[in-house]
């Protein structure tokens, strides 16, 4: 009950703070890419930040899920018993690292690596690929970009997804697996046709947990995303996320100004966005719950 009241309170506060911006720009606030905080000609549109938030989180999921699946598969099916505990604990410890540390590591280690070893080495070759070449074709060369941010996010959400997957894989009743082995299935076939179908709801739950963390992550992303209010044309372009715009501009915004209201509006949208992601996952999973 208390939680519900708190939640409602937060939503109302955000919405009241955001009201002037919504009144000023209407629905255009969500679709406009313009973000001009210069006094006297303020124009605020959240599309770049919203798009950046979604795309960086989505990329992070794309990077993290296969690796997390591999880890869980290894820990439950392949690894010798004595190795399972230490490796499992090590993965879980990744979750205990504060996000600012990921940010610093991203900025000082990963960003130069992406810049010099990935973009410089492979950038031109990848850019000349047909159809998907544009994804790698960038004029900006700073190391802090969408790709680096997604990579840092992927590492941050990896332990959540991997731990959930491992736990649920372990809960598959041995009877099912043994029956599958008995009819001659290989290890991969067992995981694909017995373990995954049995656990897919919980697996999706783990992925959603990761997505939730990725959407709202602030500090680590702010360090490495390049903070440019432009739509990214490629993976190596800098862009921005909702959380990082708020963190960067809130302290210097004047109380009651349109800028502060626009930041509130972004915060409100982030809230709604996380809510929608959760609701959508529930809705997608519902028909399968009966199985």
């Amino acid at each position: 009950m208390v939680v519900l009241v708190l939640l409602g309170g937060i939503i109302v506060t955000l919405f009241v703070g955001a009201l002037p911006a919504f009144q000023e720009f209407g629905v255009g606030f969500i679709t406009s890419t313009e973000w001009d905080p210069v006094e006297g000609r303020e124009r605020f549109g959240g599309f770049v930040a919203i798009f950046g938030t979604l795309i960086s989180s989505l990329l992070a999921i794309i990077f993290a899920v296969p690796v997390a699946f591999g880890i869980a598969f290894f820990l439950t099916e392949l690894a010798p018993l004595w190795l399972r505990r230490p490796v499992g604990t090590a993965i879980e410890l990744l979750a205990a690292i504060p996000s600012i540390i990921y940010g610093m590591w991203g900025l000082f280690v990963l960003a130069p690596f992406v810049q010099l070893r990935i973009q410089l080495t492979f950038g031109d070759t990848l850019a000349s690929l047909p159809l998907i070449g544009f994804l790698f074709d960038s004029v900006s060369f700073g190391g802090t970009n969408l790709f680096t941010a997604s990579l840092v996010l992927a590492i941050m959400i990896l332990p959540f997804i991997a731990a959930t997957m491992r736990d649920v894989f372990e809960q598959v009743p041995p009877v099912y697996k043994e029956s599958a082995y008995a009819v001659g299935a290989t290890r991969w076939e067992v995981v694909r046709s017995v373990v995954l179908p049995y656990t897919r709801i919980s697996v999706a739950g783990g992925v959603m947990l990761g997505l939730g963390r990725a959407l709202g992550e602030t500090m680590a992303v702010t360090f490495v995303i390049g903070n440019a209010n432009r739509l990214p044309q490629s993976l190596f372009d800098p862009t921005n996320t909702i959380a990082s715009v708020i963190a960067m501009e809130f302290p210097e915004s004047l109380m009651g100004s349109l800028q502060q209201s626009a930041l509130f509006a972004l915060g409100f949208l982030l809230f709604v966005l996380s809510f929608l992601v959760l609701a959508l996952s529930r809705w997608l999973l519902r028909p399968r719950l009966k199985v």
Binding site: D36, E39, G142, N227, M248, P251, E252
Partner: protein, 352 residues
């Protein structure tokens, strides 16, 4: 009062070893909040002033915007801001604004084989680079200015402050002043919508991006550039001479500004003068002109603190690479205190 505070300070200094506890207990507390840029200096001053005049300053560097908000709500004794308020904004909030020191902003670059203060830039080219229109370092307009240097064929990678800051305000005000395209494009503010380049957090983020990226150009506080030995550039000022980012050039800028304007926040960007460094910004204190009865004492102590800082703090400022103001300006500030800040019954709070 001047002499009296000096005497009091001397007395406090001599009696301190005898009565340390009593003296400490009687220390006056003042609180301020605002700009991050002058924080190291205010902290240094606070340390020295605690011994010298028995005033303990608690300064929270929460950002200029936060400082303005807090002093408008009167939750602190003074606010501090880098971007000055206009006369109307001050009147609306019943505040007096006065400058403490100047800071200078310098462009920094990362070009292989190029040393500090070697590259020469014209204001127009600087703006074009940040607009993303000069794309290569061996652009012929750059080569023209730097005949004695071998400029590499590297892409120009601008780096800027992503967090809203007074440094960005100073730098973009300068660009808007010297370039028509910048004025009608991104404009000037504590954060603007940058047409090209990477954003990074804080001075340290910008300098890190520049250091990691060959061909990068960014801008930071000079203090930061000096401490971290970053490669600065020479800029052509309004008089047409190329100036290095050095102390004399900054002092010349402080002297060239017209401090008698009503909000005491003169234009310090792109001033006229042979030796003037073109990008300097003041940092300001906001003080209520109508302190409530229980805050009169704190208001007076705030003025005592800055009065002491003006007299004794210039050396500390220079050590930290800030530019102290000319002493005529200090007099102007004291005059404003006398004339503008009143107790509820109408008498001046500052009577020295």
């Amino acid at each position: 009062m001047n002499r009296r505070t000096l005497l009091a300070a001397a007395a406090a200094a001599t009696t301190l070893p005898l009565l340390p506890r009593a003296a400490r207990a009687q220390q006056a507390q003042i609180t301020g909040a605002g700009a991050t840029f002058p924080r190291p200096l205010y902290e240094r001053w606070a340390q020295a002033a605690r011994e010298a005049i028995g005033i303990q300053l608690n300064y929270q560097s929460i950002g200029s915007g936060g400082g303005i908000n807090q002093i408008t709500n009167r939750t602190v004794d003074f606010g501090a801001t880098d971007a000055p308020l206009t006369v109307e904004q001050l009147a609306e909030r019943n505040l007096l604004q006065f400058p403490t020191v100047l800071g200078s902003i310098v462009p920094i670059v990362n070009l292989p084989g190029v040393q500090d203060s070697q590259v020469r830039l014209s204001p127009e080219l600087l703006a074009e680079m940040f607009l993303g229109r000069v794309r290569r370092w061996n652009d012929e307009r750059l080569v023209e200015l730097n005949r004695d240097l071998r400029l590499p064929n590297l892409p120009v990678a601008p780096a800027y402050r992503a967090d809203a800051s007074g440094t960005t305000w100073g730098f973009t005000t300068y660009l808007a002043r010297v370039s028509e395209a910048w004025r009608s494009g991104p404009g000037a503010g504590t954060s603007v919508s940058w047409p090209a380049g990477q954003g990074a957090r804080g001075n340290e983020g910008v300098s890190n991006t520049v250091r990691n990226t060959p061909g990068a150009i960014g801008y930071v506080e000079n203090a930061y550039a000096v401490v971290n030995r970053l490669v600065r550039v020479q800029l052509r000022n309004r008089a047409g001479t190329f100036v290095r980012a050095e102390r004399d050039a900054f002092i010349a800028a402080a002297a060239a500004a017209d401090w008698s304007v009503p909000n005491m926040a003169p234009d310090t960007i792109d001033l006229q003068g042979e030796k003037v460094w073109p990008i300097t910004t003041g940092t300001y204190i906001l003080l209520p002109t109508n302190p409530t009865a229980e805050r009169v004492e704190a208001s007076r102590n705030t003025m005592r603190f800055f009065d002491w800082a003006f007299r004794e703090g210039s050396r500390a400022a220079e050590q930290l690479e800030y530019i102290p103001l000319p002493s005529e300006v200090h007099e102007l500030v004291r005059k404003a205190w006398r004339e503008r800040i009143r107790t509820p019954d109408g008498t001046p709070v500052w009577s020295a």
